[in-house]
Amino acid sequence: MIIFNSHATISSTTTLNMYRTDQHFGMESTGANVAKMHFKSAVNHIDAPDFVALTSTNGDDNVDQTNRIASMDAMVSKLNTVNKKGFVVAFSEIESVKPGGILSIAVTLDS
């Protein structure tokens, strides 16, 4: 299990989300300094995943590429962390867990 906490205040459905690491479909670049992770939708829709947008530092095109890859690398490490006693914190605004140069995340449900 993996946890994404995107906001300092947990107040809505996209501020703290848990997913199964074995239901992570993949990642890709979707913006200059944004890469996205796709998980099986929390409402179990076949063709509409939930996604987590990973925003890293914005620079020139080459810096952006390096940062996007670093953010995806960091998530691979998290996805492959085995913690049988609890969940893995991929990113946490509250606990300031921000691996791979990721500045912020945003979770979108059923997209």
């Binding site: 479909f25 993949g26 979707t30 796709h38 076949i46 063709d47 080459n62 995806m72």
Partner: protein
């Protein structure tokens, strides 16, 4: 479950027949794996390499700027007349071609300009993306790259590859034979029946070696980072050793998302 993740970045390539008026068909993600942006006639493209390979000797069809260049493959002197097998690097001359109107169509000058060459339909034009640069898209939107878990890998299958004309069909500009293989993955953003594909144009007769490379990568114990199978950087191509050590060069990496 721990598993490796495979990372693919796009690389564009197309070999196509010469067009006498110099206006080529639009490059698309589907036909070449690239979308070049506009190019004016006073700049060199940092990434796109455009070569003309002649198949027949024709007098007075090459402008003086191109005739002053060495043959791109063997370094021999070129002249205004073409000789079968000669390769000229059109993209080495600043104004030799343009792309305008956001139509992704190369317009190569003919011999009426010193930086042009009049081609025949039997000639082959090689258009290849060499480095990661914003002049050839996409670089950071869907289709630019793909990271998938090894468990998403479904299958590999050969594809026909015959781009090029006549004696150059299926050959790289230097005469190296090329084949293509499709790698098929469960979609990176969908459950159900959708698949994403990565089509590699690569050194010929390496189907089995591509399968071996994929097996080696998928069975590896790399869990802390994505395995960079293929992508371009500002310095050039990155190709995983599992491929290069098996004698596989990759000329095109075409990513098709579900």
């Amino acid at each position: 479950m721990k598993q490796p993740y495979l990372y693919f970045g796009r690389k564009g390539y197309q070999a196509t027949a010469g067009i006498v008026n110099g206006v080529y068909g639009a490059l698309t993600n589907a036909n070449s794996g690239m979308l070049p942006i506009n190019k004016a006639n006073n700049v060199l493209s940092p990434s796109l390499r455009v070569l003309i390979k002649s198949t027949t000797g024709v007098d007075s069809v090459r402008g003086s700027v191109l005739a002053a260049l060495p043959d791109f493959v063997d370094g021999s002197d070129l002249t205004a007349a073409t000789i079968a097998g000669e390769v000229v690097n059109v993209s080495a001359a600043v104004k030799s071609y343009t792309i305008t109107g956001n139509d992704e169509k190369l317009r190569i000058l003919d011999v009426s300009d010193t930086a042009g060459q009049t081609v025949i339909v039997g000639d082959t034009i090689y258009i290849e993306e060499m480095i990661f640069d914003a002049t050839v898209l996409p670089i950071n939107t869907v289709g630019a790259d793909l990271a998938v878990p090894a468990s998403a890998f479904i299958a590999a299958e050969p594809l026909a590859f015959t781009e090029g004309v006549g004696v150059n069909a299926g050959l790289y500009h230097d005469g190296t034979a090329l084949d293509a293989t499709r790698l098929i993955f469960k979609s990176a953003n969908k459950a159900g029946a959708a698949v994403d594909t990565v089509d590699l144009v690569h050194t010929a007769n390496k189907y089995k070696e591509v399968c071996e490379a994929m097996q080696a990568i998928c069975n590896s114990n790399i869990y802390e980072d994505m395995i960079k199978v293929h992508h371009l950087t500002s310095k050039g191509q990155v190709l995983h050793n599992a491929f290069s050590s098996r004698g596989i060069d990759v000329k095109r990496c075409l990513i098709t998302r579900a």
